[in-house]
Amino acid sequence: MEKAQKQSIKKAASWDELVAILCALENADFSAREIELIARNVERLRDGSDLKVALLANHTIDLLPGYLSALHALDNVKVESYVAPYNQYFQEFLTDSSGLLAFDADVIYLDLSIPSLSPKINHQFLQLDTEQKNQELDRVVDTLQQLASLSKQKTNATLLVSNFVQPSYAKAGIADFQLGMGEVEWYARLNLKLIELFRDDARTFIVDKNNVLSRHGKLASTSVKMYYIAKMELNESALSELSLELIRYFKAIKGLTKKCLVLDLDNTLWGGVVGEDGVAGLKIGKGYPEGEVFYDLQSFYQTLKQRGIILAIASKNNSEDAEEVFREKTDMPLSLDDFAVQKISWDTKNKSIEAIASILNIGKDSIVFVDDNPVERNLVLNALPDVAVPDLPTDPTGYLPTLLKKDYFEKLFLTEEDAGKLEQYQQNALRDASKNDIADIDDFLGNLGTTLTVLTADKKNLPRAHQLFTKTNQFNATTQRYSTGQVEQFIEEQQWDLTLFAVADNYGDMGIVGLVLLEVRKTEVRIDSFILSCRAMGRGIETAIMNVMKKRYLLEGGKNKMSARYIKTKKNIPVATFFESQGFSVDIAVKGDGEGYALSATEVDLLKCPEMEIIFGSEFGDE
C-alpha cells in the first residue's frame, strides 16, 4: 500500500468513503500492518455493527478481529468482535456476568486446538494404547458437544466450530499407518465424529480449519516462535486465510449470497468466437487440453446451478449462432435449458444484465457477471456498480481457480428442507440436553480434577518466581517488580513468606502459576504481592490460594490480622475487587500506595471454591 493510500484511509470521513477507498485498492493482500491500520479506521468509522462475532479459543487468537473487520469491510460489512479471555471457553458460557454473554453475539467462533485440549495426544501419543487414544478422542468430542449445547442454551448465536488440524509430521513418522491407531487416523476419526455430531444441528457449523491450513500450507501457517512466546498458533498469513473462510459463513448467515450468475459465451463458456471460428472451430469437450479447460468451467457452473444459483447468459452474438452451438456440441455439460434467461443480442452487456435482473425480479447486488473481456467487465462495473464482476486472468486455465476462491455463492444449507431443520431444532432444543451437559460453572470447574500444589519458594524455583513478579500484569495486586536478588532475600529472610502455587488438572500440568509474598509480623501479616498467571484465571484458584493463606495465619497461625493493598494499574483490573470479594474490608490504616484492605482473625471465613485437591510440599506429583 502506498503512503498516499494509507493517508486517505486515515483521513476517510465516513464509513462509505472508507469502503470505497478499500474497494479501489488493486491488491487486497494486506500485510499485518495494513490490516492493523484498516481495522483501526473501521473501528473509528463504523458507528454500530452489522455482525457481532465472539471468538473463543485455547490459543492466542487476539489478532483475528483485526483481520475480520478489515477484510469484511471490503464487502461493506461492519464487524464488531469480542475475544474471550484465553482458555476460558467454558467459563464464558457458564458465568452470567461474562463478557461473552453480555456481548450478545450473532456468531460465536470456537477454535480449540489439540495441544492444550489434549496434552496427552500432543506429547505422549506413542505411549498411549488404542483404548486411551479413543478415550481422549471421546473426551474432545464430549467437550465440543457440551460447548455446543451451552451455546444454544445461553445464547442466540450461530456457533462455528473449527475442526482439528492434523500435525505436519506424525510422531511415528512414516510408520504411523502401522500403529494400532496412528495420528493420521486419530485426527481423521475425530474430525469425522465432529461431522456426525453436528450434521443435523442447524445452529452449529463446522469450519474446516484443517483444510483451510492445508490449502494455505501448514508449515507456512505457523510462526513457531510466536507460538512459544504468546501461544499464537496462527501467523498473520494464516489469520488472513482463516478470516476469508469465516467470512464465507458470515455472508451465508447475513444472506449476502449472490443469487444469479450471468455468463458471457465466447471465450467464457467455450474457447473461440462462434461468429468467426464457426461451431466446428470452438474448443469445448473432453480429449484435448483447451476443450477440457472449458469443459471443467461449464461443469463448475452446472454445480452452481445444483447449489441453487440461477444461471443466465449475456452475450453479444447472433442468437441463432449461439443456439446452434448448444444444439451441435453435445459434449458440453451445460445445455441452453440450464439458463433461466438468455440475452443473446447486440445490446450492451449492462443493458442485458439490467433486463435479466428485472425478469428474475432480483437486485443487481445479487448478480455476478463473468466475462473474459476486460473491456466488457469494466463497462459493467462502471454502469452497474452493484454487480460483482470478478477480475479474470488472461489465460483461461486461470478462470476456474479464480472463481473457486470467490465467496459469492456460499450458503449454510443447499436446500429449503435443510434450512427447515432450524425450526425443527429449536423445538427440540430444550429436550435435547444430554446427560453429558454441564449444569453450571461449579459443576464444570469441579470436574476438571484440579490439584493445587502449595510450595515454599527455594533456589530451585526462584527463576519462575522472579518471572511471575516481572511478567504478570493482570492478576497482580501490587505489581511490585522485584529483582532476582530481592527474591533471594525473600527466600532467605525469616520475616518473609514467599509461597508458590502449581496447578494441574485432567487436561495437563500448568506448572507454577501463582505466588503470594507475605511479610510476617508479630501479631499480623501483610500481603505484599498476590499474583496469578492469566492462564490460571477464571477457575477459583485465587480463592483456594487465599484460603490456604487464611488458614495458615489467621485460623491456625495465631495472627490476628491480615492486611493487603491493591495498587491500580492500566492492566490489573481483574484484581480490583479481589480483596473485598475475599472478605477483606477497606482499611485506611494500611500504609503504602493504593487501596488498603484488612481482614481480622475474628471475621475470617474460608470461601467456597470449586472442588480441588490441595497438596502441600513436593512440586512433582505422582510422576
Binding site: 487476539d62 516462535k225 500484569n473
Partner: protein
C-alpha cells in the same frame, strides 16, 4: 531514527510520528500492552524481512532497543 521505524511504531500504537522517541517504552505508553507488543513484533519482522530471537523480542522494552535490534539484523 529511521522514518520507516517511526512510521511503523506510530501506526501500531496509534500515536503521532513526532511522539515516537527513543525513550518511549512499555512503562510510559499505556498502549504498549502484550497484544500490541505482538503486533509490533509481527509487523517489524514482516516489514524488514527479519526474524527476531525470543530474547530480542523480550528485550524490546523501548523504542531505542527496538531500533538497535532492527539495525543489528539489517547490517
Amino acid at each position: 531514527m529511521d522514518d520507516e521505524i517511526k512510521e511503523l511504531v506510530a501506526e501500531i500504537f496509534n500515536i503521532e510520528e513526532e511522539d515516537v522517541i527513543p525513550a518511549l517504552s512499555q512503562d510510559t505508553l499505556d498502549n504498549w500492552d502484550s497484544l500490541n507488543h505482538l503486533k509490533l513484533v509481527t509487523a517489524v519482522e514482516q516489514e524488514f524481512n527479519i526474524s527476531l530471537t525470543m530474547d530480542e523480542i523480550d528485550d524490546i522494552t523501548n523504542v531505542e532497543k527496538l531500533v538497535a535490534v532492527i539495525n543489528t539484523h539489517k547490517s
